[in-house]
Symmetry: C2
Amino acid sequence: MYRTHNCGELNINNLNQNVTLAGWVQKSRDLGGMTFVDLRDRYGITQLVFNSETNKTLADQAQKLGREFVIQAAGKVIERESKNAKNPTGEIEIEVSELNILNASKTPPFTIETESDGGDELRMKYRYLDLRREPLQQNIALRHRLSVETRKYLDAQHFFEIETPFLIKSTPEGARDFVVPSRMNKGQFYALPQSPQTFKQILMVSGYDRYFQIVRCFRDEDLRADRQPEFTQIDCEMAFVEQEDILQTFEGLVRHLFKTVKGIELPEFVRMPYSEAMEKYGSDKPDLRFGMEFVDFTTLGQGKGFKVFDSVEAILGINASGCANYSRKELDALTDFVRKPQIGANGLVYVKCNEDGTFKSSVDKFFNQAQLAEWAEKAGAEKGDLLLLLAGDKAKTQKQLNELRLEMGNKLGLRDKTVYAPMWVLDFPLLEWDEDTKRFYAMHHPFTSPKPEDIPLLTENPGKVRANAYDMVINGVELGGGSIRIHDKEVQKNMFTLLGFSDEEAQAQFGFLMNAFEYGAPPHGGIAFGFDRLCAMFGGHDSIRDYIAFPKNNSGRDLMIDSPSVISTEQMVELGLDYRTES
Amino acid sequence: MYRTHNCGELNINNLNQNVTLAGWVQKSRDLGGMTFVDLRDRYGITQLVFNSETNKTLADQAQKLGREFVIQAAGKVIERESKNAKNPTGEIEIEVSELNILNASKTPPFTIETESDGGDELRMKYRYLDLRREPLQQNIALRHRLSVETRKYLDAQHFFEIETPFLIKSTPEGARDFVVPSRMNKGQFYALPQSPQTFKQILMVSGYDRYFQIVRCFRDEDLRADRQPEFTQIDCEMAFVEQEDILQTFEGLVRHLFKTVKGIELPEFVRMPYSEAMEKYGSDKPDLRFGMEFVDFTTLGQGKGFKVFDSVEAILGINASGCANYSRKELDALTDFVRKPQIGANGLVYVKCNEDGTFKSSVDKFFNQAQLAEWAEKAGAEKGDLLLLLAGDKAKTQKQLNELRLEMGNKLGLRDKTVYAPMWVLDFPLLEWDEDTKRFYAMHHPFTSPKPEDIPLLTENPGKVRANAYDMVINGVELGGGSIRIHDKEVQKNMFTLLGFSDEEAQAQFGFLMNAFEYGAPPHGGIAFGFDRLCAMFGGHDSIRDYIAFPKNNSGRDLMIDSPSVISTEQMVELGLDYRTES
């Protein structure tokens, strides 16, 4: 061992001990004959001191240490003159008697500090240096802790962690697969799993009862800001359960994680049907840290001669409490906000509920005070409140108003990062109609079970069928989702038909699962959590990238190792592959 | 929940309780108006009983239950008339009052019993049924338990589990990579990792100090009997350590696993240099459960007119204690054994040390009694022992005699599966010379550090340089191996040169690691354990396949999902790939 202690553990109780530390030079400074060096490792920072009067050679050596040099230093623990209460080692320092440079360092291309001066691309390229920064070290430690506690909880609940294969089979349904050419079976490919979905269902058929896995998954999608081509799931499945069992078990998991990792006792999980979430918040992942529920003004707003309102499907609004004093400029900014292309509303109607009991709106031409008073009453608005209304196609308006609601939540400081509002969204629609391809798609995936009472609707009105599906949402972030699965071969077959699979296609892609269902499949269901997202939420950040040790950029590249890259012609020949020529 | 209890937990203490169980019908039998059904789940088997006198409808229903039907049964726990002491639930049975068929089953294509009547291929195809068999359920449970205890130990030792990427970069060194075409970067490929080697070293450079990961790795090799294209490693790395620290830490891990999972206190780990292992056992993974060390007869055997001996580099033998009474037939069988093509010896010389003090050998023509007595003395052989000698090229003879030694160990019952002889093999050669390509290859991998005292030999006699490398071996099985790494850029560069890399090649493939070494790389080292192999050893089996939930066959195919398979032309076009046409 190159050290007797780490850089985070020595304190006043270790006075006069002879110790050896090893680590990186965080910084050094010379002060009148004394050289002070901050030595850093994963555990903390300890101050080394060199006195040029008592040992000039050593002090000279110390003065030449550059940032990020790796050194080993032996000496005695002494009390500091000027103590640093913020640092656990801040009461002591090491009077160094022996110094050993283990490795030198070039000057890093950016500062290794909590706030670095390096740009994103540069820090991605030198990820090994970026990973030395304390915030990232904390993120990686947090991720480890979350994985430990997840496993502890699930193991105690008799779940087995079972590894499923990575070299599986490509299925056209869903997102695009990454594929892996097979050399031994030329012309054929494996695919990397988008999730272990079918395998975990197979494990239920095999009688394993309670399965989980913290597992890498892969999706070859055009990357949006916060997507990664490879990501990690906490993937779980249980047999002989109903929806209620799953909700209890995994509410328990997340409760355990908050308690053990953050010391927070979560409040009760709200349970809300999808339809209610859409009506009240215009979102299937509402942020319940604040109210500001949607109010339907369609009836009140129509038939009064305001054409914009009269021609639309829905007029929806929110009550921004205490915002009646918003200036023209502030209101214009909100209008600009909803008109942004990514939101896409045409305009915004406001009604100020003045302190004197009158109303001032942007539609005063069409609505008199009594009518506006009816609006205020419907919205439960009081003096000093501000109503904000959007109108149009119902689904679109819901989506737009959701964005406005969240924006107002931000403005009013209602989205406190230290407050957690957990919920389950339940009873999702089983199917989504796609206008372009004129067919239904599975909202969750084709293995999701319809609610038994809705099964008759499957033929009459498939779009109305609700699924035994559920999402866990905290503070507007979807942490996980799952469903009770179909375990009957006939129902599964009908589902594939409804989704436009021919019998041959269904058999070719999922034949093994349907065959398995013929040999005694138990009722089962499960859930998967986005582990990267979970880590980011626990860390209090929105972006997952800094919770992944080696992430890829938005073009799917690893800038550090410079990958993907070309392979040799020999490799291409062995795989029986050639580059496609345009023709 | 479909059940109040599982099928393994009810016993005499639950008498008269009303319970509900769910599971699979293992078997059923009708005995004079009574129907008995063995209900099975992951936890055990509980007997259900149906009485046709008290409830004829229910009993009729029960009689129709087929093997592997999934049922739910409610009833009362009663005491059995004929108890089964071997089964934890064997004192009770359930008097069923309600029966619910959750899913029917076709007759399985093979028996779901400890010993199945199904062939390998059939069981691979119906893996979901094979996985229901008790031995496989135990294997999967064991694997889970080993992963839990591995993580518990390493977490307590302050290791972080850090996930490294799967989509990395192809490197021609070592085994063949599986590659993944990139759609977003056409003409370029990712590679799947053969191990996270470079990433774990990068993590040490980043200051993470103690890393581990239970992680899938990939090798596109022609599969031998017990190889899988994807396999799992316990991958570990530590910074600021010397070899001794690694040995202590991971001896501790394996000791912990044996103690917690098998209740076995391992004996002290023998430490043996590679050279000694080769001299004494002809193997770098000797089975130390028994002695039978090699004896060098080269000097004694040469110059006596026996041409076969006179012309060879080495004459090596073992003393098979108590085997002087072997018959002609038994000796012929041993000769046949060493002549098998996979062993390849030309013949076998034996010397029987008779009970009367005389010797009888297959080379009596060339060696007299006094000379044979010298052999016996050299081998420490006593009356009743049998010497077995092979001759030829030294390295080949060592290998052949190793096989013979293991065979004799088997014959003599010296390889007891309940006895464990753990060891470290140390000081491996750094490089291996390859006659075909006339160059050195890294024996471990190109990041392995030479022993400091051997560094001068790197230029004079590279083949003699020993590495700071170590393997953990138990009972002749290599469980893991690792090394202290190079952490100096210049040494690493020289190593690449020695291995025939041009500067450009080294930079293109490992530039990021060498660059990282310029910014303060600490001394570091690590180890990786083959997790599949570890599970098989703990389970007492030689084959890893039944310790993997979904293994591939020897052609790299998953017979259950029928993969690899062809992909669509659209997928090929998107990837910019075409099939290579022979020309």
